[in-house]
Symmetry: D2
Subunit: 472 residues, 4 copies
């Protein structure tokens, strides 16, 4: 059998449990039994012995037998009805139901539970980012824009920066979990006609039945006006949130790949790990790269979701079927794998303060070019003039270093000799000294991030306890 | 000049106003002045005369002059600073600011206002769907699944069905508008260092300044930990919601295209309108098709957004610049055009009850196959047997009609003659008669939809008053 | 284990064989042995006994053992090297090779072979389309544009129309198969340094070695300048062609879904098949819908490919790894499933000439509106006038039918009474009679299609012999 | 008016000329006249005076007047027919034509000409890559995989590596240009019925007419079996090739952004250019980033194309219309802008051999780890043992450097002291010395690239002469 590589290679047991074929059959049977009991309680004549018989065989799951049935009927649900009835020796399930009364609800339940698994792991990731933001709050690094030394920041701030992006998506996830609507028992075209017929037109019983099903599923809301299928833009919303949950980690990992290229930090390299079969010295950012790969996958699954939403005909059809069979579990497996990898990186990453410091020192005059400019302005230079003069010398200093004319960054010396700027060598040195630890609002910002995370995960004990397993 | 075809051909004035190049320059200048005033109020030495001078030239917008400057500096913001300063005869703006302190906030403001324009139109669309759901609540139509006659529904229910999908996305939009965070004045790498320097390290003033900017913009929330740029997953969220807002209308329009193919309803055909230059009889669903086209465009813009989110390096760069210049306005223009077209369709669509009735009568025995089956079960038949027997005769009736053996649908006659089912001809006729108006929970469902819409738009007078302009 | 649903539910044995994990391990081992033999033949000291030992254990494939090794090394290739060496009791494989010398070539071989499987099936599909175009060449149907009756066409022409689209992509596929370049043994960064070292700097031996590897693989061309990995735009080309191969079938199936809604034709309904578990009468276009679903999947895989191409760093990395593990096989499984489904539809579809004829007769006056217009012009009317008059009466006739004023299409009677047009009732009748079988260039066009297909598949005996298996 | 930002900000005059609204109207009128003349030559009674009249007003293009007409007819082609006829004072154009006989052919002509513009620029880019590959053939740089120092390569090889990717797409482009099929005059549903009627059923005249149109357009091939519209998978092919043409440049630019971060090379920084309005020292890779942005845009346009191909109904409709109005020109503008930017980068980029050399020297022991391993194996060590020992010391050397224990890379000293490897200090030194210039097959590879480019552009004088304009 060809395995699902995302599930088997990257995803974790709780996520696989949600989407396993056997697990799905079990969820379906539980739903059938729940409906049957509710129908009986509401007055349908269903013998207790039948219910008992069905309950007794819920766990007798034989995919091969079901497959064989499907090859004849060419109808997957019909095959599973037959199988379950045959095992139980009764014909009492699926009353007044259409296939989608079963499958839509069960697939939504899988989606809902999978979102719960994700919530735990994102919470765990936020906690780690928060912890690292705190720990590295003062570790000054060279911030880069356009991948070029820009100003000073701290490693802690970088964690909180990418953490804030993850938090944004986390809040979306929480909102979704609180408002996710399930389709319910709407019947063949959405009118609930067949349950109406069953209950002799008693609307209250039909609504009561649906409430009981909703309660069985544990999903907070119910659609009211769907047709045979629920709107696929709900799936689109789910997958789009999964994609956004991948964005912060992915950008962080891209940044860590760049930092590793400068030997400022790395994702770590485990004992026994091999970097390259050919080049013994290699220590690669393979986990970070993998995170980027998962992000790319998620973008593709979102394109699939976009091909469904907005292309639904009438009361529904199954042109979405094969897409959702693939897209939903695979998108969740991908994000599950991403989070597992990301957590591992956060737990195992290494910091190289000496190299960081070497870089900071080399670039310091550049990193403070704005500060110098503002000092010059205060000392009387025009802003545009100061900008032009500093630019001139910064560019010259960079060129001198790059062409081997100078061995280091001599911008300060150049500036000191230019009276258009009006700053003495002493003033410039003072500027450097003060500037090397001037962190602006970083402390305040990090504090805000820590508080936000603490609030966000306070009700999630599983997130607080979670540790990733060992990844491939 | 090559025009933006989405803006010029399909979008409306309010949306174009948000994104016009001149409008953007004005927003930038207003932001600069707002920052300047706030800096002055918080203690910076900025002469009133300079502020007056800048305010006096805000509307002197000369794109050609700015372009000429940009060709030298190769820096768009620098060109606009120079232009504004030159006009005002001062050098007081942009203090302690980096380009992104200007552009990110202004682009977010454009996005935020554009979301507001969309909110109005979606509200207007929901109101129309709600009105049509009410009006056509009892107009029985043949519901189709797999594009094949399934059961009875009503046209009103179809409106509420697609309306519920639109409502789902509308709620997302409202949540976004309530929580949208703006970047603020975070400086070159996010540390707010330069404002700190300006205010001699007084953190309170820096935070106060940012609050004033936020208030000037009128956006509810502030990011706290961004770098030079805000996380592009926020743009992704915006575009993904735009895409989902297009889904319900697009599926509705696809369905209306199919209905028009059966002459059950149409989008209307205006006086003087030409359907085809070659075929004089043509009355095409061109507006519906256009709605589908806009949906396809939005999927593409979302792919672009997906290429940005998760691929941000360090504290930021401009690899997203050209993408956002195109994707953001164009996605909004596309949805604006879609909604304008959709509103027009809802206002002008036509219903053909006679053809609808003809279809219903032809398919009625099929539409009630479940009801017949359930009646048979009550009368003593096994569910699987009844299903099999009805399937057999339904298939035979369909084939007879398709091969010209019969001129209509003779399924009832066939069933009456089969004692496996156990229903007499009279019982079957009764079934048909009762079934033709058995609408299940449709009334209750539509009522729920009407209430939801009424609540959702109660605070939106613009939506209530909105009428689309004339579309191409 | 979670199965790959595309592989297990929809794909066929030959495609699964290409991508099975065990199959891949075998291909790798065969490549290692081929390289080893070539290295020996070119002068490296590799004992025959080692080669024999490796060859003797090629089929001893134990995924669990390899997995265990990978959990330590965190390096998949290293794990497979160790396993193979351990089984053979030698350390002679992978000399001068980097992991990518193995994996890139083997994955390209899988891709190339999978393209071959696709070629066969597309050839088979073209043959069926060609056969149906021939058989239904004269079956007149109502052509629709904008889903509204337009002019006359034939069912045969529809087959050749969608067939021509498939042919376009087939030619792309054939061009790709003739030009597909394989990466070869380029070493760790593309310089082939390690093979150079092995052969003491003898360039000819290095090139000879690579030629032998290329020959072993059976792929026509070799890259010359790659780095560690080959450019991912080649994968993008592959997936984009797969996507285009899905377009013609998908549009055909959409059209067949619409036709089935009018009962003009259907995909067929097998004995024992169940359409709906709730509605016994349902005969659904489920296979057609599935084809559309596969097309949607392929669009998503192409988005993934787009996330790789253009985002490669330096000489290479593995941010593409997880993406390609999923995207490549799954895109092929999806197209394989699509083609299998499409072939089944073409083999089993049904035609309902009586319903077709009924539709033709109803719409005939409309279908000939251009012909009538041109006749009127010849008789002296202005083109624009004739267009306007016919439009007026066509619209009126449609409205009369739709509102129940008339029971059929009375356009001809209306036209006969309008002397602006200048055509008598007799002339109009003649027009109808002649027009009902006026097929323009359709015969010539179909002939051209038949010839093109015959040429294209003449060298593909497998395609000629191919029949789809039984689908779910 | 809102301008098309891609056209106005980034694209060049020849590309804008292809897609300008006025240019399109002119192409349409030329096609109408060409058809009219051909119809006359083949026997239709069209007065020369009418033809003259039309030709006389071809350049009287008044978009506002056409727009006004369209607002009534809601039919764009009808509006343009009326305008042209009104200007000419005749009603002789568009005979036997449907709108798509005009628009499809003209849009394909635009596409075809735009492909030609691209061909020239890609040819120019290949020539530059080839020249740089030659010039920098011996400039040794540190090749990186996983963004970590791997082995030695040369800058010239990097140019040829990315150049080979561009060449791959260039060959696709050339194949497309040689095989691109135009729709021709197929009439309302593809049967060419109306031309048949015009020519009294004379098939030869109809085919002759179409050949003349094809010749007028200058496009090599004709579709034979299309319906009202040509298959949108042809647009998909076009956009997918544009996307792939962007891949090589985009990956190159990403790599240059990384190199600029290490100050090894840069895209150049023009006199007067400003890097940052806040930080005077900034010299940013803004052009490279822009190239990446264009690549992201193209991926989005391809998603749009994917939404059209495979979703065509019957003989055609206009759900693709708004998509193609945007996607086709914008995709071409994006690639045009990308190529212009890329050419500028190639012309202006700077190389910093001193920094390059510094990096090489620091990493040399790592870069030669494979060479050392192979030497050790020759000297008697087992491959796996040698790999393990070198890995151990390489990792230790890296850690020592990163933690400040050592100031440089002391791996060689560590290896010399480990007798498991069996190499003396002298042997290791020799290894370093020889290895520093051991370039494997790079020379041979670059030669191959130069030849391929020379062949590919030999017939393209425009490409050889092309220089980019000044970019923003």
């Amino acid at each position: 059998m060809i395995p699902n590589v995302l599930a088997e290679r990257y995803a974790t047991a709780p996520m696989k449990a949600v989407w396993s074929p056997e697990g799905k059959i079990r969820l379906e049977r539980e739903l059938w039994v729940a409906v049957m009991k509710a129908q009986r309680d509401l007055g349908l004549d269903i013998p207790q012995e039948a219910i008992d018989a069905y309950e007794g065989v819920i766990d007798q799951i034989d995919p091969a037998s079901i497959d064989a049935r499907e090859r004849t009927t060419r109808h997957d649900v019909k095959a599973r009805i037959e199988e379950f009835c045959n095992l139980a020796g009764h014909e009492q399930i699926h009353k007044g139901m259409t296939s989608r009364d079963l499958t839509e609800n069960v697939e939504q339940l899988q989606t809902y539970r999978a979102l719960g698994v994700i919530q735990t792991k994102v919470g765990a990731a936020l906690l780690r980012l928060s912890k690292l933001a705190e720990e590295k709050r003062d570790l000054v690094i060279t911030a880069r824009t356009h991948n070029v030394a820009a100003q000073i920041t701290t490693f802690g701030k970088r964690f909180s920066m990418f953490g804030e992006e993850l938090m944004l998506a986390f809040q979306e996830l929480n909102t979704l979990l609180a408002n996710y609507p399930v389709r319910g028992l709407k019947g063949a075209v959405g009118s609930q006609l067949d349950q109406f017929s069953l209950f002799e037109g008693d609307a209250n019983k039909v609504l009561d039945l649906e409430q009981r099903v909703s309660q069985h599923l544990g999903i907070p809301k119910l659609f009211t006006n769907v047709g045979q299928v629920y709107p696929r833009s709900l799936d689109h919303q789910v997958v789009s949130i999964l994609t956004r949950l991948s964005a912060g980690p992915s950008s962080f990992c891209t940044t860590l790949r760049i930092m590793a290229g400068h030997e400022l930090a790395s994702e770590g390299f485990a004992k026994g790990q091999v970097g390259s079969s050919a080049m013994p010295h290699k220590m690669n950012s393979r986990s970070c790269e993998r995170v980027n790969g998962f992000n790319t996958l998620l973008n593709g699954y979102l394109t699939m979701a976009g091909g469904l939403a907005g292309d639904q005909w009438n009361e529904g059809d199954v042109s979405c079927s094969v897409v959702r069979r693939v897209m939903l579990p695979d998108a969740f497996f991908a994000l599950d794998g991403l989070l597992e990898t990301f957590l591992t990186i956060l737990d195992q990453m290494e910091f190289y303060p000496d190299v960081i410091d070497k870089e900071n020192r080399h670039y310091l005059p550049f990193l403070l070019s704005t500060t110098i400019m503002m000092k010059a302005v205060k000392a009387g230079a025009g802003r545009e003039t100061a900008h032009e003069v500093i630019k001139e010398h910064a560019v010259a200093a960079a060129r001198a270093y790059r062409t081997g004319e100078s061995t280091g960054n001599d911008m300060i010396a150049r500036l000191a000799g230019d009276d258009r700027l009006g700053l003495t060598s002493a003033q410039l040195d003072e500027c450097l000294q003060e500037g090397a630890s001037a962190l602006g609002a970083i402390d305040v910002q990090i504090d805000a991030f820590l508080r936000t995370v603490a609030d966000a995960v306070s009700g999630l004990p599983d997130a607080q306890a979670y540790s990733p397993g060992s990844i491939l």
